[in-house]
Subunit: 218 residues, 2 copies
């Protein structure tokens, strides 16, 4: 599937600095954890979640857009979505099925359910963290399907944090803790190759020309 000779050739178009950057980022990417957002209305929240995924090395984000599909597009076109993979779903049902097939447990992040506290969360399990709507929270469907309810302990008068802040706290915590375990959390070699191609394609403007010339000269 992947043409390693072509990849090598393409990489000669990158600066040494950029190439090294790709490798550094790739070495810290994981699919052990993933994130799902369910009909998040406030557009800056969606892009903030995507940015946090990039910052903390989460490669895949799942976006359920039962009600909001049109509005989200514009926003995510602006952010760091270039470097993470967005899986988009029309229904929660499809999203959850897909995640379960891939072996993820469903983790509902809810501010009011008194279940697992963040610092007690078992990071060894493949997990998808679900974040819900700003006011209504997660849908009944997600809550019913959840294997685990995760809570950030809060001790003040204010009893909630916004989605982008919750996501950042959770992702920072679980990825830091994951890297202290001996779990095999990194991307596979094949997944890394795919991302190298993908990122080069998004970086080099004349990608198509270079690939065409490469095959014509072969």
């Amino acid at each position: 599937m992947t043409d390693l000779k072509l990849l090598e050739h393409l990489e000669t178009y990158l600066t040494e600095h950029r190439k090294q950057r790709f490798e550094n980022v790739l070495s810290q990417r994981t699919k052990h954890f993933t994130v799902a957002t369910e009909d998040v209305y406030q557009l800056h929240n969606t892009s903030a979640v995507i940015r946090s995924c990039d910052v903390f090395g989460i490669q895949e984000v799942n976006i359920v857009e039962e009600q909001n599909s049109k509005r989200i597009d514009r926003e995510i076109a602006m952010g760091s979505q270039k470097w993470v993979d967005l899986n988009r779903y029309k229904t929660v049902h499809d999203c959850i099925n897909d995640l379960k097939e891939k072996g993820y447990q469903i983790v509902a992040t809810t501010p009011h359910t008194n279940d697992t506290l963040l610092h007690e969360f078992d990071v060894t399990k493949k997990s998808c963290f679900f974040f819900g709507r700003e006011t209504e929270g997660l849908s009944k469907e997600v809550l019913d399907a959840a294997d685990c309810y995760l809570k950030i302990p809060m001790v003040g008068f204010t009893e909630s944090l916004n989605i982008s802040v919750s996501a950042a706290i959770i992702l920072q915590h679980v990825t830091t803790k994951l890297k202290q375990t001996d779990i095999d959390w990194q991307l596979t070699e094949i997944e890394k190759q795919e991302k190298r191609f993908d990122w080069i394609k998004k970086t080099i403007k004349s990608y198509d020309d270079i690939v065409n010339r490469y095959y014509n000269n072969k």
Copy 2:
């Protein structure tokens, strides 16, 4: 200074639920850590930092407003500033002096200085976490005065988090860790009494009438 009989009388005007809430929140409040913001322009960032302080039990927030004094007022009038104490300073110099006199080490939170990583930070020291301007970061004065540079490890292409997200991650982490130590981090009994008065004053509309009647009937 504090009239405990008056406090007892005032508390009869609170519902049992509210009284219990005050005690729960008070029992988790700390001055072992505090936060300082330096000329933060984006108003929603200041109030998000204040909200995070409330959520994670930080009782005091220090606000330096060398350049921005007028604009911040409006915003902080809306948030959870009712429950935390705001110390306002016209100069960084005054703020740092005051904090040092109170025994705090100055912790500069900077995304680009490669020093202490968050999960390695020593929570046993009394610390003030400084957050700077959105684009310029912290001033040279804060960086020069800092005892410690704290960094949230980031492993993606995006190399920064916004102030409100950074503050929330740091405060969540250090307060959780602090509570796992045997450090004496809680408010003193006198500090708690002061907050009980203060919070009752902010809760009961007819506070002044009640106090006047109390003293007249004595």
